[in-house]
Amino acid sequence: MTTKSHPILSMAASRIGLGLLSLVIVSLIIFSAVSFLPGSYASAILGQNATQAAISAMEIKLGLNRPWFVRYLAWLGAAATGDMGLSFSGRPVMALIGPRLKNTLVLASITAAIAVPLSITLGIVCARYRGRFIDKFLSTSTLASISIPEFFVAYVVMMVLAVKLQLFPSMAGIRNGMGLGEQLYRMVLPILTLLLVILAHMVRNTRAAILSVMASPYVEMARLKGEPEKRVVIRQALPNAIGPIASVVALNLAYLISGVVVIEVVFVYPGVGQAMIDAVRNRDVPVIQACALIFAAAYIGFNLIADIISIVSNPRLLHPR
């Protein structure tokens, strides 16, 4: 019998390979799409000073007079060596995005640290007391909060807690030299909004995943053997529901990194989402590319981790025949 490579390692290796390929494809799509958009960095920046002469001078300076695929290959070559290049404004892309990425990661980690355990617990509670008041209440309220657009949730939260009750600041703008306490205090409202937005998705999926396992015969068997319902849910059903739960958690974590631009705008939180919007508006291609890579990498990375968790939690996948 030949020694088989470890299933997790081989899967991780192939997934990372595919992930890198996806990143290249994503970068190609975005680069070409931005090139086909009307307008250019030069006309966006020069605004009402944009004479044809000024535009061509700036385009020559930035190398924008070359065809887009030539520029793409040059960018790809540099990016492959880890050099994200210079923004069209002349600053290194990493210096521009770095501090914002840090802010995004801080907001995402704090939200995730609260949201993940909370939503899984609530999902289990719903599954355990299925059809009872607590289940109906949580299902309805999460359904409501998932149906309302996030900017509306943000404005309601802001109106009630910042404008009317004046409990928290309306601006989450954290800055260098601010104490940790004040930073956290300022981040309360965006965190609360994000919680309301992502909790629903995770609670409902946890509940659904557990309930689908609860319908299997072995759970019936456990019940017949006299196991208490709580033990059935946590010991028998939950371990087999970890795979689907991990997937939905991964999706929401990736969203926390790439999709919170609306929250960033409303609460004036200097995150990476705003950086990308700003860059798209000005056609600052190197910055757009870097943001796109970060977002794509977040999705690929979190999904990879979710798959690894599914495999580890499932002996059938861990020891394939």
Partner: protein, 533 residues
Amino acid sequence: MERVNIAGGEHPTASAGMTPTRRRFLVGASVVAGMVALPGLSWAQDKPRQGGKLRYGMNDGSQQDTLDPASWATVMTGFAFNGSLCNNLVELLPDGSLAGDLAESWAGEEGATRWTFILRKGVKFHDGRPLTPEDVRQSLLHHMGEGSTSGALAIVKQIKQIDKQGDEKVIFTLAEGNADFPSLMSDYHLSIFPAKEGGGIDWQSGIGTGAFKLESFEPGIAVRLKRNPDYHKPGLPHFDEVEVVNISDATARLNALMTGEVDVIEDLDIRNVALVERNPRLKIVRTPSLRHLTFDMNCSVAPYDNPAVRKALKLAIDRDDIIAKVFLGEAKKGNDNPAASIMPFYAETPPQHAYDPDAAKAILKEAGLDGVTVDLSVAETAFPGAVDAAVLFKEHAAKAGITVNIVQEADDGYWDNVWLKKPFNASDWYGRVTLDWLLATSYTSDAPWNNTGFKKPGFDALVKSARAEMDQAKRAKTYAEAQQMLHDEGGVITVAFVSWRLAMTTDIGHAALGGILPADNHRGAERWWRTDA
């Protein structure tokens, strides 16, 4: 040698708010803004107080913003860098007139082709270096030369040579005469930075001569500034600290003001005016600006090449209706003259074009036309409310037998694909400091942004002859003639002029604001004060 326009002596803004005329003006301005001092509360704006902090919420900061003056394009950079960190040779006073800033005086000679600026003595950069003619020369050269991408390129292009004389004189030689040259030196890109050894300027460190020193700069997020105790204008600035924060979302900006996170916000949404006016802690400050919103007809394309069609369309639009319904009264009626009333050499262009569908119909009939059909290209980005204004225009014009087909264009790329290209389009003009600059960039035959395709040799000749004219009365007459020509024959339908609309707490004191540039001609940080300091 003819000498003109010598400013000198004490700096005028230092005494702002002290002179009786200005105080009288203030009272008028505060009534206009709907602010009446509460009984028992002395809303003392007349005496500036020292100290405190100004927190300003901007709407257009960008992560592309840099300290390089050639790149400045946003109000955030204009206010924080040009108006607070730096000074120009000259300064635009709130009333629109020109005063010396780093230059104490200036004089033009040889048909306005040679301009000598005498620098103010004792001006120091933030690091203690004294201001020298070389700093001025390098600061201007920074925008010139092959491959320059500066926003001020059009201005500096006319400079042929810059010479220094002694340690206080800078002499500019122009390619052709321009009586407006000193005014153009107020352009916000032309801030004076310290020269580097071996040429160039040191803009990277953010060291200028301005009222505030740079503490920190996070592009697109915030700029923090500290008072410059050695500022060359006596008694200024009033604030100890200034913080300029970028809040791009209009609701978030308003909330930041309502919750006291900032003291002033830029560009209050017209739909929120009533909300702010109801709040006794807040006030709205409206300042007439150069900005105007237009529907531009290309005079060299049919049917707009027919003067009767142009005239009829100008009479077939009910500006009052559009201002009431689209701008909620927050705009001033235009009269098909792109010059703003706050500009030097602005002239009334009678008659005021009013809505008169019968007259429009009659004009068309006289030209042998039985009704006319036009395609109007609009998008929300053309100017705020452009689509709604076009819909109203369609209704107004229908009564004159004119069919206006509204072509809704895409927002993205509007300025690249529609503006200057489609024969009848909506446009948002931020205006220019001088009439010559406005006309020469947008209305003469060879103007780069001639959106109305207006090509009239007689008009070009008027603009050219006024440019180098040093006799103010003659100049005013020529400009009046040119403006009347645009009103009568031009392709621009000036729908409305809009004001800068700031909302601020009543704790911020100020004199009348300048409106040529936003935020008190960018210099609010040194002109305003806290009444609660």
